[in-house]
């Protein structure tokens, strides 16, 4: 009796694709691990660098603290020079106004009284010579009024009188600035 014996092991399974997938995934995994190790190494390097810089900073701070007094004085000087510059730049210039109006006074007259603030100046001028006062009123004061650099807003003559005892003429006028 003949029996058919099938010695075939079955169709040969093709596992090339599976091997390829395994290979590729291994490669990907290796690349990822390498890159990650690289990142971690760099991170460690930077942490070390930061730590060294922190140490340097502490050493320098300690050295600066050992000369704290000089350091603080230096800072105070810089700070106060800045404030001094601000003050000098904005100080009111009342004596400058004094000089400007004094320059108007004719030689035969004298400035007897000066009252000045930032906004207004009041002068009292005396002279025996009426002509010089007339020149002051008609010419000099007009020059002052026309000089835009002076910033004059108003000039007012408050009084003009003759002292019967001293025989001197007195004129009082005020200059108001913008």
């Amino acid at each position: 009796m003949k029996r058919e014996i099938n010695l075939s092991l079955g169709p040969r399974k093709d596992n090339t694709l599976a091997k390829r997938i395994t290979l590729y995934s291994s490669i990907i995994f290796s690349i990822v691990v390498c890159i990650t190790l690289g990142i971690l190494s760099y991170r460690l390097f930077l942490s070390n660098q930061l730590s060294n810089l922190t140490g340097d900073e502490e050493v320098l701070q300690a050295q600066l603290n050992s000369i704290k007094e000089q350091r603080d004085k230096f800072v105070v000087v810089k700070e106060r020079l800045g404030e001094a510059k601000r003050i000098l730049g904005r100080r009111l210039n009342i004596t400058g106004k004094f000089d400007n109006v004094e320059a108007l006074i004719p030689s035969q007259a004298s400035l007897e009284t000066f009252n000045g603030t930032e906004e207004e100046v009041e002068l009292r001028v005396e002279s025996e010579n009426l002509g010089s006062l007339s020149q002051l009123i008609n010419e000099k004061i007009a020059e002052l009024a026309n000089d835009k650099k002076q910033g004059v807003q108003k000039i007012e003559m408050k009084s003009f009188l003759l002292n019967p005892i001293t025989k001197k003429y007195t004129v009082v006028f005020s200059v108001t600035y913008k």
Binding site: T22, I35, R43, E57, D72, F74, V77, L92, T117
Partner: protein, 219 residues
């Protein structure tokens, strides 16, 4: 149960390894690599800032070590005479006397209100200031020639402490002056100023020399 698991394993064992490797790759990327990468930029930023701080400290230290102590002390004296740290009546009086002597006028008197000397609430009330700089207002009387009285006013502007004249009255040999004496209390210095000390600019050096020329005699 075990037999079933063995059967599943045998069936899928060829796919198991790549799946595990891919899963591990994703895990490493998202849980390790990317967080570390974002931290790197933060650490780099800290390093840059730290390097700048170290450089500033080195420059500050070398500046201080190269400047003689005597010069620092003298500059400090000039700066704190120009703007005293408190209302220094003695210094003001020294300055007024010096300016009066130079102008050849005689001081008749001065009137000032120092303000609170003690306060249980530990704060100064109503301290006047201009642009944030406190001042003490003083009224001064002087006697002399009109021209000298004017010169006295000019001398005040070339003296220390720094002042500002708000009113000048000169009337036949008698002068009256409204003067603000500036002062500036010491304040705590911010850390960024302490770490980054810079040398005086040429402008500041010129100003310092100018102020030194205005120092009251005897100081």
């Amino acid at each position: 149960m075990e037999k079933e698991l063995r059967a599943v394993y045998k069936k899928y064992k060829q796919q198991l390894l790549p799946i595990t490797l891919l899963f591990a790759s994703f895990f490493i990327i998202f849980r390790v690599a990317l967080p570390q990468w974002s931290e790197i930029s933060e650490v780099q930023r800290q390093i840059d800032k730290k390097e700048q701080t170290v450089e500033d400290l080195q420059n500050s230290l070398s500046l201080l070590q190269s400047t003689p102590v005597a010069i620092i002390d003298r500059n400090f004296e000039v700066a704190t005479t120009a703007l005293p740290p408190q209302k220094d009546v003695a210094l003001m009086f020294t300055m007024l006397n010096s300016a009066a002597n130079k102008a050849n006028v005689e001081l008749q008197g001065f009137n000032l209100r120092v303000g609170d000397i003690f306060d249980t609430e530990n704060e100064v009330k109503g301290e006047r200031s201009i642009d944030g700089i406190p001042y003490l207002n003083v009224t001064i009387q002087a006697e002399g020639d009109n021209e000298n009285l004017k010169a006295f006013a000019e001398n005040l502007y070339q003296s220390l402490p720094l002042v500002e004249l708000t009113k000048v009255s000169i009337d036949r040999g008698l002068g009256s002056y409204d003067v603000n004496f500036f002062f500036k209390p010491f304040e705590s210095i911010p850390a960024n100023f302490i770490n980054k000390i810079q040398s005086l600019t040429p402008e500041e050096t010129t100003l310092l020399q100018q102020l030194e020329g205005w120092m009251p005699s005897g100081i």
